[in-house]
Symmetry: C3
Subunit: 345 residues, 3 copies
């Protein structure tokens, strides 16, 4: 997609300083700007780059005063960062504007599709599935029987959603996400091996949830595994059966949450964290990367670290001492020796 | 699927107390029972819920004596838990009773399919593949050339099994499982970069193995990576080339086992554990979540924790002291000071 | 595929000792050799197995002198290991020699395919995609609009590559790999929830890169996430937006690299390592499994361990003391008691 600087200035309500017919086809960081790219200057710390950027055009503040010549054509706006963000969003919308039903795809005769949906080739939509309006289902997606996907949700290529699940509005699931696989439930039997506990619950994902590539969300044994409104789940995360993730909680990559644990709203959980099953994690809890949570967290807004985790300040103090342990040990040995010699004396 | 209470009582050989024509269409926990759901009371600790449950019907013991009025229709049986488990299994069987070959699918003319199989749309079955009876292959599954899948195994949507692998009876593979990808083997060459070591072995998965979503099992360099009978492998687990997992061993999510390690039978391995390559782990070993195993474990039935791991009791004792390290350090400094003053005196 | 020993000897330029018409159809380790398999003896430590192997044929050195009778037919060559490696490679090439376009597949009319490509059934190739010569695209692969794949690259079943990405020559991506999913970028907004930061950059993967099953590589916010020439990335790894991985760097399974971190060339990173965002990791750095890297590493060729990590020797010394902490604590208590008694006296 190519645009002239004049066209972009018109979208942003900005003023052109330079060549309005210059053509751009990409957005770039100011320090990486190349020909035909459009960049922006918002952070004063980056001002030096405006004089050297290879970008064809740059969005700058109306109040910006150049101290040297600038080769890029400028677009002057009130708030360069917001203008640039608006362009990013516009670009993204144009990119994901696919519509219609590609062939071959498999749509059960009992499935109901909303208006203006996209169904990519090789997508599979099972019996009694309900797909809302403006939903985009990319190639190779599998939607099991009776599952519902509400309006404006985007399901990227290769996502698998098992039967009987419920997905809200404006969600985004990235490639490889698996929603509704069986929870990991097995009971030892008399022959000293394991018998599967049937997993007949489902998964409910509320509005505005984003789930990263290859993350897995297991269905409940009974009832529902629930990811609440606005939660953001990164790549390669494991959400076990009957877990609940609170509103606007953010979880970084490769973290695992074991069965039946309930995480409150507004939590921030780092990468590679492990949380064992049947816990309650209070609202606003922050957990440092690689920590292991073995007990419920009752007080809101605390920060935890370690495996098993405790208060982050205490953890850091202990860890400083861990690094000094050989030195502490030497000192202890020396004191003991002195003491023994004193006792002899 | 809807059933009357009378129909369910007939399946269970139970007696109805209340309305035999009441209709149920879901199974629920007693504390979450809603209209049209069927629940059960087995654990006396949950007795209070029988008086308040919103479920339409409840399975209770023949010997249960109500102390207050109950709105749910009761089905009285010898063993409520077993009866409920029977219903769960029946429900699961009905749910996974798909059969026949959906189109479009790709079945090589040299592949052999057993009787009563299900092959979903967009499934790909390569040359010389053998599929047993009652096998269910969901949409988007890939089965590479020469691979064999034995009777009653269920392969959910999007599983990829490379060529030349062998899968036993009654296995379940969840979406996103990859079986038979190349092991991670590279040899540094004279030009100071890496040359791939061809991985021409395979993967053998014995009967009654369940593998969770997005888990990866690499093929052997030579010979076979083997998962033995009854092993249960959770989501997002890495099983490297030439690994062996023993019978009835259970591994929780996000654990990784490096190349050529052999894990004995009846082990229980927590989530996010890492086990390095070329080790032997004795039968019945238990490993706490997030532990790192750097040496073989020779004695059976021990419990390990830590990274690197040692005996769990010792680990816990050390970790208690880790938390007290700042205090210990302060005490050590104080003692040293006292000692130095004493020496001066 | 079956070959006679004479045929294999001809390929290797070796001499047959025994039955040249013996038939083999598999390659095996010497201790696991079965009928119709071909093995090799290179490492003197395995010499005993040559007398007991069940293999039909064995490649041995010209200089090897048998001390007992050997049942296998021998093929004598200059360098048995190199000869065997040559056979492994030949086997692998024959195995992956698929060519042509299977149906049904989806190739956009604006896509350009090179010569001698393989496109498996149910593969999806988007608009303006460019596929080089000898590229193999297995079933269920998704290649988004405008993406380029250069010559001789192999993309196994189910890989998803989003739009606008660039993949070099001689790369191998295993099943379940996701390249180009959105980076995990969200900005808190005034309503106390998160607004997505559009991710409009791409992923660039240079030549000779191998990526293991179910690994995820996110696209850049702006600019590119880059994996450089010769890097080898194992299974279930997370590479976040704007990360750069240096040439010939090797990363073991389940490691995660957070946004904008730059890893130098020739690094070796163990499994389950976590590296936080916006760091620089010097060339030749080695990181032990399960370590957590929280700061940039400036000096080349160092080895790190721990979470947070420090120099591996120091870590090991501290960890030895961690195991002795209960003992140290007891000694400290005893010293304190002695001191207090002394002071009283």
């Amino acid at each position: 997609m190519e645009f002239t600087v004049a066209q972009i200035a018109a979208i942003l309500g900005g003023e052109v300083e330079g060549n309005p017919d210059a053509v751009v086809n990409a957005l770039a960081k100011i320090e990486e700007g190349k020909e035909k790219s459009l960049t922006f200057l918002a952070n004063p710390a980056y001002t030096e780059y405006i004089y050297t950027t290879g970008a064809t055009a740059a969005i700058v503040s109306k109040s910006f005063v150049a101290e040297k010549p600038i080769s890029a054509t400028l677009i002057r706006v009130e708030n360069p960062y917001e203008s640039f963000a608006l362009l990013l969003e516009t670009y993204n919308k144009i990119k994901h504007n696919k519509q219609g039903i590609e062939q071959p795809s498999f749509v059960s005769p009992t499935a109901v599709l909303g208006s203006e949906v996209y169904v990519g080739a090789f997508a599979y939509i099972g019996a009694n599935v309900k797909i809302g309006n403006h939903v985009k289902i990319y190639p190779h997606v599998f939607i099991g029987d009776n599952t519902q996907i509400d309006d404006h949700t985007i399901i990227f290529s290769g996502v698998k959603i098992y039967s009987d699940c419920v997905v809200g509005k404006h969600c985004t699931f990235h490639s490889g996400v698996v929603v509704g696989g069986d929870g990991f439930g097995f009971a030892p039997n008399s022959e000293n091996n394991y018998k599967k506990v049937p997993q007949i619950g489902n998964v409910i994902i509320e509005d505005h949830v984003e789930i990263g590539a290859n993350t897995t969300v297991d269905r409940a044994t009974l009832g529902s595994t629930i990811i609440k409104k606005g939660a953001k789940i990164d790549n390669l995360i494991q959400i076990a059966h009957n877990v609940e993730i609170g509103e606007n909680t953010v979880i970084a990559a490769q973290t695992g949450v074991a069965g039946s644990t309930k995480i409150g709203s507004d939590c921030m959980i780092g990468g590679q964290v492990g949380i064992i099953g049947h816990l309650n994690i209070a609202k606003g809890t922050k957990i440092a990367a690689q920590s292991g949570i073995g007990n419920s967290i009752k007080n809101e807004n605390e920060i935890w670290q370690g495996s098993p985790a405790f208060a982050i300040g205490d953890y850091k103090r202990s860890y400083v001492m861990f690094r000094k342990l050989p030195e502490m040990h030497a000192k202890l040995m020396a004191l003991e020796k002195m003491m023994l010699e004193k006792n002899k004396a």
